[in-house]
């Protein structure tokens, strides 16, 4: 009973997700000649083939890391969308380092990732600094800066890294010794996944078990309280954005070295936005980021399979994501005492 009580919010979220899936899938399936086949492909398809199951995990890897970056900033009361740009620029700077800097094979990956992290995180740190120094809304400045990062990045790709022998605007091939090792044969799951899981665990320890994390949560929960305590709010805010930016940029580097042969992004890849969705779904809890990221990736893989095999565009997944965002953030539903009581199998006091 106690366990059921504690899990009530979680169970309620899961019930909501099932409801949303049904709400979108059922009407779409009815338009299909083979409705059961489509639902079957969507829900079970990803597990029929180890390669597809692997896709879930590899897709969840940047989602976990970007979600972690967003969650750490959300918890501090910051809404920095620079995660998207930091991911992009982190990936690019990592590739650029691997391509341009002559390094011994062993140092290649760590140095490339480090440089990528340093350069990429600037997309979060600059808005963070402007916020803490001049009270510029980090939401607006980071959103704008994402595009600055994109176009600077495209310039660098085009004029510095571009491989003229390749047909498209892509970089030279990333040296083989810079690629992250694959973990499971038959899939593309790479070392980065391990990093991501460890990062989520470390993020949880950081938030709940360290003085810095505690201070972040105080500022996020109530800035007036932090002022009252005399905490250095600006420094705490900036710290959160530096850490978040670094994680997002690191995620970009890992994504590149783990899955790509060349830097080939022509636009913002969208992983930062996915991070926002993941963080919201996980309610900014670093450990819950892991299932949240896996779940969203599962939907994406299922959606892609349906798009390939049935006459349904993969944008359906976007529709499901949008509904999830709306319903999961609707605290009128997820925090509703009556619903929670019902899920926990207990009667509310005023009903008695």
């Amino acid at each position: 009973m106690v366990i059921r009580e504690a899990l009530a919010p979680f169970i309620l979220t899961v019930l909501l997700l099932i409801g949303i899936l049904a709400l979108v899938l059922v009407p779409i399936a009815m338009t299909q000649p083979d409705p059961w086949g489509m639902i079957d492909t969507f829900l079970l398809g990803p597990f029929r083939n180890p390669r597809h199951t692997g896709n879930i995990v590899e897709m969840a890897t940047p989602a976990m890391l970007c979600g972690l970056a967003v969650a750490l900033m959300f918890r501090t009361g910051m809404f920095n969308l620079g995660v998207e740009g930091a991911f992009f620029l982190g990936g690019l700077a990592t590739v650029a380092t691997a391509l341009l800097v002559p390094l011994p094979a062993l140092a290649l990956v760590p140095v490339a990732l480090l440089v990528g992290t340093l350069i990429g995180s600037s997309v979060c740190i600059v808005p963070g600094y402007l916020r803490s120094r001049y009270e510029v809304s980090e939401l607006v400045s980071s959103l704008m800066l994402n595009f600055a990062a994109l176009f600077i990045g495209l310039y660098v790709v085009n004029y510095v890294l571009r491989d003229p022998s390749a047909g498209a605007m892509v970089s030279y091939k990333i040296p083989l010794e810079a690629r992250l090792p694959r973990l499971i044969a038959g899939t593309r799951i790479h070392l980065g996944t391990l990093f991501a899981v460890v990062a989520c665990i470390a993020g949880s320890i950081y938030l709940f078990r360290t003085t810095w994390g505690f201070e972040s949560r105080i500022v996020g929960a109530n800035p007036g309280f932090a002022t009252h305590l005399g905490l250095p709010i600006r420094r705490i805010m900036l710290r959160a954005q530096i850490i978040g930016g670094a994680i997002a940029a690191f995620a970009g580097g890992i994504e590149m070295l783990g899955l790509y042969q060349r830097f080939s992004w022509q636009s913002l890849p969208g992983n930062g936005w996915t991070g926002v969705v993941v963080a919201i779904l996980a309610r900014d809890h670093p450990l819950l980021l892991i299932p949240a990221a896996l779940f969203l990736s599962y939907l994406q893989v299922g959606g892609d399979l349906v798009a390939r095999n049935h006459d349904v565009p993969s944008e359906v997944v976007g529709l499901i994501q949008a509904l999830i965002l709306i319903f999961v953030t609707a605290s009128a539903i997820t925090r509703n005492p009556r619903l929670l009581a019902w899920v926990a199998g207990r009667r509310t006091e005023n009903e008695a």
Binding site: R209, I218, A221, N222, G224, F225, T227, H228, L229, G230
Partner: protein, 515 residues
């Protein structure tokens, strides 16, 4: 339009009005009095005496739990502001509800715009506003943008808006002068007298005696949720009104004489603070607190208490004057420096400053102390030490909570305040600011916190006590300083001769004494 007086029948009568909120707070108990047609009727009382609740009931925003309202001798049930409007009752709230980007005419006729087909008939709207303005002799420019106007002009618009409905007979004004300068206040009073001549009955809520004297024909005083006095202005003196508002002095036997005080701890000289909110402004505050002494600040809410606390806790920098602490300058210390030197602060606003609702009891109780070697090991928190300490606090302060991991929001106000007090007292402060330390909490919790404050003083801390509860001030303070209009107007050594009656005139700005 003129209100008809049918014989001796009062225009409006409250009969045994009681109000109890669902959370158990009693806001009014058995309030009965009458308002004569065509009078300017003042309702006086301290904060929390029930004035606003009574007006909300009259305007249909709240429903009484018992009692009836009679209008022209007939019982009426005012279920909503719409019903109040249909009965001819209009209200001007303390906080304006105007839209700054719209014009005067648009604001006044908001929701009742004249239409022509699908569109608003602007010419007609303008005409109506001008007619209204002429009828009540309230000059406004219908085309001006409200945001560009002065506060006094906005208030005029607010009044016109209230009068724009048809058949208005009574106008309620809730502390209308709070936002005005003295000349604007005089102008408002002139306008209100004009409205009275036009046949309106006016209910004027205020706790400024001078204004009540200048304007009203009749006054009703509320104290502790009941009517404490009701009289024509001509038959009552200011001191009598003050006594009715403040209440007869309850004997306060806790006399704290005989204790030796140490050297001057906090010394405040000519402290000034410019603030956008006039209620926080300081215009020259002088006082000092010796070690082991409790200095109580008495004053009507919004007389500068907030500004004083914000300067002495490091939240704001004063614009003039000096603060010294144990002989060292402390005028521009930051909060963190105040705290490092031994300041602790029980804030008036429990959930905006005192704690974070969404964080746990443990986290609220130990925030700020979390970097002490006792609770931190390098960058990590010692969870076990924190659990153990919070267990002690819960035990020692008798905090009733579902558990140390429960969010602060799960606790009652009194228990939340205990958690906050435990945190602040744990630092063994040498200077404590106790701002409304027992407001809104139950008697047992209040007594406990008060006894803790006394203990702290006995151990040699300098204590600044700010409280709207005069009984509390008189029971705890060694000296009482009265603040009015952002400065200390009197400082009295606490003793049997210091009573609410004696403090009242100072608090209301009728008298000031050099000290």
């Amino acid at each position: 339009m003129a209100a008809s007086t049918t014989g001796d029948l009062p225009f409006l009568r409250f009969e045994g009005i009681s109000k109890r909120y669902s959370n158990g707070t009693q806001a009014l108990s058995g309030v009965s009095f009458s308002i004569a047609a065509g009078d300017i009727h003042a309702i006086c009382g301290e904060n929390g005496a029930g004035k606003s609740t009574l007006m909300k009931i009259l305007f249909g925003l709240e429903q009484p739990t018992a009692g009836t309202i009679h209008l022209d001798g007939e019982a009426v049930s005012i279920a909503s502001p719409r019903v109040a409007a249909s009965l001819g009752i209009a209200m001007v709230h303390q906080h304006f509800s105007l839209i700054p980007s719209l014009t005067v005419a648009e604001n006044i006729l908001l929701g009742q715009e004249p239409r022509r087909g699908l569109f608003i008939d602007r010419a007609e709207a303008r005409r109506r506003v001008l007619a209204l303005s002429a009828r009540y002799n309230l000059d406004v420019d219908p085309d001006a943008r409200v945001g560009a106007l002065s506060v006094a002009a906005q208030q005029k618009i607010e009044i016109l808006k209230a009068l724009s409905r048809d058949g208005v007979r009574a106008l309620i004004l809730d502390e209308p002068t709070a936002v005005l300068t003295p000349p604007e206040t005089d102008e408002l009073f002139q306008q209100l007298r004009d409205l009275q001549r036009a046949g309106l009955t006016i209910l004027f809520i205020s706790h400024k005696l001078r204004e009540v004297r200048a304007l009203a024909d009749h006054v009703t005083t509320l104290r502790l949720r009941q009517v404490s006095g009701d009289s024509p202005m001509a038959q009552i003196s200011d001191t009598e009104i003050a006594a009715l508002v403040m209440g007869a002095s309850r004997p306060t036997p806790v006399l704290r004489g005989g204790r030796a005080f140490g050297d001057t701890s906090i010394d405040v000289r000519g402290l000034q603070l410019a603030a956008s909110n006039g209620a926080d402004r300081l215009t020259g505050v002088d006082f000092s607190i010796r070690a082991g002494e409790i200095v109580g600040i008495a004053g009507v809410d919004g007389s500068g208490q907030r500004g004083l606390v914000s300067v002495l806790s490091g939240a704001r920098r004063p614009t003039g004057g000096d603060v010294s602490w144990n002989g060292s300058p402390a005028t521009s210390l930051e909060t963190v420096e105040w705290r490092r030197n031994g300041m602790a602060h029980l804030p008036a606003d429990r959930f905006h400053q005192g704690g974070a609702r969404s964080l746990s009891v443990t986290e609220n109780a130990l925030a700020g102390a979390h970097r002490l070697a006792r609770f931190a090991y390098g960058p990590f928190l010692r969870k076990r030490a924190m659990q153990q300490r919070v267990g002690e606090i819960i035990e020692e302060f008798g905090v009733r909570c579902p558990g140390p991991g429960a969010p602060l929001s799960a606790l009652s106000g009194g228990n939340a305040q205990k958690v906050i007090a435990a945190r602040e007292f744990a630092t063994r402060p040498s200077f404590l600011i106790a701002d409304q330390p027992t407001r809104g909490i139950d008697i047992a919790a209040a007594a406990f916190i008060q006894s803790r404050i006394l203990e702290l003083a006995a151990s040699g801390a300098a204590i600044l006590l700010i409280s709207a509860d005069l009984d509390e001030l008189l029971a705890l303070s060694d000296r009482i300083a009265v603040i009015y209009g952002g400065r200390i107007v009197a400082t009295l050594d606490n003793g049997p001769d210091v009573t609410p009656e004696r403090l009242g005139p100072f608090m209301l700005g009728l008298e000031s004494a050099a000290w």
